[in-house]
């Protein structure tokens, strides 16, 4: 277990470093950052002074090393627009996005796992067909459109939920559903496929031959083996959701990281964008790491060599 953990951790660090390099070079992908910052009316001298002021005149590897060294200490520099430390702004907004992502994930799993299990117990039954329909609709529907539909019915027609803001839990209901619904189909189909496969396994027959109750057979013996790929998927999708929350947060005007990213792009606030991308990426890496750990815990074949 320990060697597996160590190896997995090493890989995670390497991936994080690669991501940081790509994130950093983002600045140069959109042209000369000094020109972009100086604006259209700037003279040659203005651009030159901005370039030296922000250190864009140094060799790129030096800049990267400097940026990485500071980033590791939690210093992402100053926001060009807000004139505040980037780290401070991000850590103010991060909890909101995390909360949204978590609610969405819980919503998605609570809906998809039981549906997937039910569909697998009775393949081609009414439940299975209904679940399939939900999956197809979910896969086909753009999340922004779904979000607007929710808003229209629950917010305006029935007046059940607030439309915008992030002050109370009620504000999170619609965004969580809109965000979580996106991963429900995949998680549900994966649970169903996994359960179908596991339920025909020999060890399920053994469990039944022991006279175990069908609930024990289903949840103790089958689900634990069927759920492994769903966990990996959930982790990856959770990462996507943090990124996807840019759309949802903007629609519902939720003051999270996604909304901040959207604002920063409009303001050409490079240090802010760099930091957001890096934070989200590292988060993503941590999630896949967590999923692997969880899988190792659930599946002794990974854990015990």
């Amino acid at each position: 277990m320990f060697t597996y953990l160590l190896r997995r951790l090493g890989v995670a660090v390497l991936v994080a470093l690669t991501v940081s390099l790509i994130t950093f070079s983002m600045i140069y992908l959109s042209g000369d950052p000094a020109v972009a910052l100086a604006g259209e009316a700037a003279t040659e001298e203005d651009i030159e002074s901005i370039r030296t002021y922000y250190g864009y005149d140094r060799p790129i590897l030096v800049q990267y090393g400097d940026w990485l060294f500071k980033a590791l200490q939690g210093d992402f520099g100053q926001s060009h627009y807000l004139k505040q430390p980037v780290a401070l702004v991000i850590f103010e907004r991060l909890p909101t996005t995390m909360m949204l992502g978590l609610c969405a994930l819980v919503f998605a799993l609570v809906l998809s796992i039981p549906l997937g299990v039910l569909a697998a117990i009775r393949p081609n039954s009414l439940i299975d067909r209904t679940a399939l329909t939900i999956a197809v609709i979910g896969q086909a529907m753009p999340s922004f459109w779904f979000a607007l539909t929710l808003m229209l019915w629950f917010g305006i027609v029935w007046r059940l939920l607030p439309i915008t803001g992030s002050d109370s839990w009620a504000n999170f209901v619609m965004p969580s559903i809109a965000l979580g619904y996106y991963i429900t189909p995949a998680a549900m189909r994966l649970t169903r496929a996994g359960m179908l496969e596991v339920l025909s396994a020999d060890y399920i027959r053994t469990a039944r031959a022991k006279g175990l109750r069908s609930v024990t057979v289903l949840f103790k013996h089958a689900l634990r083996n069927a759920i492994l790929p769903v966990i990996s998927l959930a982790a990856v999708q959770f990462g996507f959701m943090l990124g996807g929350s840019i759309v949802i947060e903007t629609i519902f005007a939720i003051n999270g990281l996604g909304f901040l990213a959207w604002e920063s792009i409009q303001r050409a606030d490079l240090p802010m964008m760099q930091a957001i991308v890096l934070v989200l990426s590292v988060f993503y890496i941590l999630l896949t790491l967590l999923a692997d750990m969880l899988n190792a815990w659930l599946d002794p074949r990974i854990r015990v060599a």
Partner: protein
């Protein structure tokens, strides 16, 4: 001394609907098992011997339909039990060992957990008692360092060891009857003999009834008290092992025995016997003898009407053939 009857099966049939018609893989099977007795069910792949055992356990696949005139374990009429009451019996008074030890254990749980699950489910004992019995039984089936094994996972054990664990698991609740469905087929030849000896030994010691399902006649000759030969869903011959091996009376049984070389008897370089033709399709009704197509003695008599399992050969030998053994002499 009258033998104590443990299992009685009569008129057991299985039907499976398929797109091309109703499949009848098990037809009107009748046999019984006494306490401390080993009954072997022999036949080639697809003859219905595994489905027979699953039908007794009520573990058939969902689509399969079971019917029977009589299915009694000790004095419990299993035909009248619902699924819930049936699950009280399974693993408790009647347990099963499967063909595939590599995949028959759940990879996610320890040996100890899977061994003690049965007794805990059937309310026989608490956790610590169950663990003690698991250790005791693991030692019985020849596994060393049993206490440590309880903490191991299936993937850490070899196929032979896993089958030993399966045997121990089948004995956990002290069943009256064990059904072993080709328990040695998936194992190395060297391990096969060990596992068989073990099964026979434990069966004598615990005085359980044993149904041994196999296609290996060598195995049968060594451990079985009685033998039922199955062909195409029916029992074609049934009797004591001694009678079956010394005076086989059904052409199919004779054909099977001719396929085995006997050291010292089968001449070097001579051809071993084989049965020409293939097993008939079991979809739809088939009047008459199922083996007629492949039988060199077959006449019009064989296929015109159903052939019953006659006991003209004495109380301990029944055969499903229109001819008497004398008529079948080559």
């Amino acid at each position: 001394m009258a033998a104590e009857r443990i299992l009685e099966v009569e008129g057991l049939s299985v039907a499976i609907p398929t797109p091309s018609g109703m499949l009848h893989p098990v037809q009107n099977v009748k046999f019984h098992v006494d306490r401390g007795e080993t009954v072997a069910i022999v036949g080639e792949s697809g003859c219905g011997k595994s489905l027979t055992s699953l039908a007794i356990m009520n573990l058939l696949p969902h689509r399969a339909m079971r019917s029977a005139d009589r299915l009694v374990l000790d004095d419990t009429d299993m035909l009248r039990l619902g699924e819930r009451q049936m699950s009280d019996i399974r693993g408790n008074r009647m347990s099963m060992i499967f063909q595939e030890p590599m995949t028959s254990l759940n990879p996610a749980y320890t040996i100890g957990d899977q061994l003690t699950e049965g007794p805990r489910r059937h309310g026989q004992s608490g956790m610590s008692e169950a663990r003690d019995r698991a250790v005791w039984l693991l030692e019985k089936v020849g596994i060393t360092a049993a206490t440590n094994r309880l903490r191991q996972y299936p993937h850490q054990l070899s196929g032979g060891l896993r089958q030993r664990v399966m045997i121990a698991m089948a004995l956990m609740c002290g069943p009256d009857l064990i059904i072993a469905d080709e328990p040695t087929t998936a194992l190395d030849v060297t391990i096969q003999a060990q596992i068989l000896h073990l099964l026979a030994e434990l069966q004598r010691e615990f005085r359980t009834g044993l149904i041994l399902i196999t296609h290996d006649l060598g195995v049968v000759a060594r451990v079985a008290d009685r033998v039922a030969v199955m062909y195409a869903g029916q029992i074609v011959e049934e009797g004591t092992a001694h009678r079956i091996f010394t005076t086989p009376s059904h052409p199919y049984t004779r054909g099977l025995l001719d396929c085995i070389p006997i050291p010292g008897k089968t001449a070097r370089g001579s051809h071993l016997g084989s049965i020409p033709g293939i097993v008939p399709s079991l979809i739809g009704e088939m009047p008459g003898c199922h083996f007629a197509e492949r039988c060199r003695h077959a006449t019009g008599r064989c296929t015109s009407r159903p052939v019953g399992l006659g006991d003209g050969l004495g109380p301990d030998h029944r055969v499903r053939c229109v001819f008497s053994p004398e008529e079948l002499q080559p």
